[in-house]
Subunit: 414 residues, 2 copies
């Protein structure tokens, strides 16, 4: 699109209360806007990034047989009282009454409703296994909303829920989803580590978190840089400097870390509370065995900015860059403008995602904005470059002077 | 996908409280599930239909220059007090407090936040016009939630907001969006009429509603079947039987009707309350002129079912059918099963959307479910049909016996 038509502009400075790098850069770039503490709007550029993350998640979760659905945010008190989660120590659920006097709360997770829905469709071992997922907003009355997109009161989660007839079947699927999660993070440009963490009240086994070491993180992980063994400090019996208990080669290291996803064997916790049963091959009634798998696309976006930026701005990984290419036309010369217009039209016609800086701004402003916005590639057309185009990867200092044909080839246009 | 793997099944009967046809058929087909009065989950088949409606909306709104964003549901009291909409006579906003004691409400519309955001980016006549839209959940403390998906407490809206420097520019864009809306409804299989309605407190002019005459509707419209002139009864000075005031040929008729969209000139109501100004070419400060344009994709889905069904089930219009083709394999013969498996694999490989009923159910059950689900096309493979495939459009009684190649051709596979 033409930058002169873009709804947002870059912003010089943001409030002093924004201490995290992701909040600062995303606000300055016009990717997001803060409505209140812990609640951000995703403006057009941010929405594009967010959508690309969701697209990656959908592709990988569809590939492991997940069927997408959407549940409600409004939740009836009666359902949540059955699992004992209407009242929680943290008072995490926003609650209010309808005009009819019905007590409702806003879903901060969806195990209860998904189990209730599954009761209508799962009756027999023939109906298992099943896996459904949602990509939708959750609300949490979060006492410590902070760190930009990392911890908010309103956020989209991808939650996958799986239903099984046996522990063995669950264990098998759990590993398949674990592998899909690693693919998702990799495609988003994140190097996430699988970390053992508490299984909570539901199981004596570990759950698994996907952690990205970085300064803004609220978790502490202890890990081995040789073999990848890692545990959340909350459950770890070892300390920094101990030999790795797995490979016994390296010493263990500790790092602050952001949890970008987790996977969790729920066992029969929810099926027993809400009476989700199936008939096995012998005709016996059994509780369905469940697991849940969460990823926050907004938190991925914030974490990517934390680990992928320089002092000039964001460096978007290629697959989640809002546009692939930032095309800059410098100066007021008609021939430069015409050449840039023509190239832009060619690229758009061929389906290349290009943001075209056609504004009447100085070269300095255009370069500064381009670095802040951080699209994968930057192409510059100017009088000085003549017939050539200056192409640069955002994450790389190297400049290449190439012809228009070479540029078109770079973006798959013949 | 294979129907044996589908998360949902059809349901024999639904609660007696479900009086509307759309709720009955959508619940029986497993398209939706009711969480509480006026709040429905969209299960996998329903989610597919819903997504197709949203895709159509996005394509047509992008085509008129709309830039997509997402705003927050959590809204601060202070902002809404400025426009006098924190307290409304209908108490339509759900309200509660955060752990920090901050009063927040759930957005039931987004004029306030979008105006607040626009203030950060619109300063000059050069920044106008702009148009942004959202496709996201709204919450309304609705006293009369009823009629299935037609009136709910939690629903997704596409809201487009446009910003202009002059009335003339707004008037011009308003007509462009009106045309885009008619395209959207047509692609969704609805014959929507443009109906003049009250402009509300903001303007003396009419606003425009897009109405689909049907029994479940809560509105009454008076219209001319010759020239298309139509007004909401609330503002109409004419009565049934009067000569049409426009063409003066036909007599006016009245009908119950569902409002599937509306477009609304807001003028300076919100820009004045929230101080959204721009500098004109003479350097003078002026209030921005605004309009808003709403469509409810869930309400479209419910209305389509109301106007497009028979006594056996739903008849989905082609472009929003959850899958294009329902492939039924009848009987237990291995050769039928193999032929159907092969055809299914070929179709999937070529990207044809096909639901394959591979279950061990009787022909009667399969036909009954297929009619209820209402996909555009049904193809039957059976011993009786031999080498041929029986193809039928859901909305048509005619059966065609065709070869596999002819079937593949019908779905664009060479």
């Amino acid at each position: 699109m033409r930058q002169s038509q873009l709804f947002t502009k870059t912003i010089r400075s943001v409030g002093a209360e924004e201490v995290s790098i992701n909040a600062q850069l995303l606000l300055r770039g016009g990717f997001i806007d803060k409505a209140l503490a812990g609640a951000y709007s995703y403006l057009p550029l941010g929405h594009l990034v967010f959508n690309k993350i969701c697209k990656i998640i959908r592709e990988e979760i569809n590939a492991v047989g997940g069927q997408e659905l959407t549940m409600t945010s409004l939740q009836p008190k009666e359902l949540w009282e059955k699992t004992g989660r209407w009242v929680t120590p943290e008072e995490i659920m926003y609650k209010f009454e309808t005009t009819k006097g019905q007590a409702v709360g806003l879903a901060w997770t969806h195990e209860e409703p998904v189990t209730e829905i599954a009761k209508k469709f799962i009756n027999s071992y023939r109906d298992l296994p099943r896996a459904v997922y949602q990509l939708q907003t959750k609300f949490r009355n979060e006492p410590r909303a902070k760190s930009g997109l990392i911890r908010t009161r309103e956020f989209v989660m991808k939650d996958l829920y799986s239903f099984h007839a046996s522990e063995a079947d669950l264990d098998n699927y759990y590993e398949i989803v674990k592998a899909a999660y690693l693919k998702i993070f990799k495609r988003c440009g994140l190097n996430a580590q699988v970390v053992e963490a508490s299984g909570g009240a539901f199981t004596k086994k570990f759950s698994h978190e996907f952690q990205v070491p970085c300064e803004v993180g609220e978790d502490l992980i202890i890990y081995c840089s040789n073999c990848g063994w890692a545990q959340n400090k909350e459950v770890c019996q070892n300390e920094t400097g101990d030999k790795c208990p797995s490979c016994k080669i390296n010493d263990l290291t500790m790092s602050k870390s952001v949890e970008v996803g987790n996977i969790f064997k729920l066992g029969t916790k929810f099926s027993a509370s809400l009476d989700l049963k199936y008939h096995d091959e012998a005709g016996e009634s059994q509780f369905v065995i469940m697991a849940s798998y969460g990823i926050g696309p907004g938190r991925i976006m914030g974490t990517v900015v934390e680990v992928s930026h320089d002092d000039k701005g964001i460096i978007w990984p290629d697959e989640i860059s809002p546009f692939k290419l930032h095309l800059l036309a410098l100066g007021e010369s008609e021939s430069v403008k015409n050449k840039a217009d023509e190239l832009y039209n060619k690229l758009v016609k061929q389906g290349v995602e290009v943001l075209y800086d056609d504004r009447s701004e100085s070269a300095g402003v255009k370069f500064q904005d381009s670095d802040l916005l951080g699209l994968s590639y930057r192409a510059v057309i100017s009088e000085r470059a003549g017939d050539k185009i200056e192409l640069k990867l955002r994450g790389n200092q190297e400049l290449k002077m190439i012809s228009e044909d070479e540029l078109l080839n770079t973006f798959g246009v013949q």
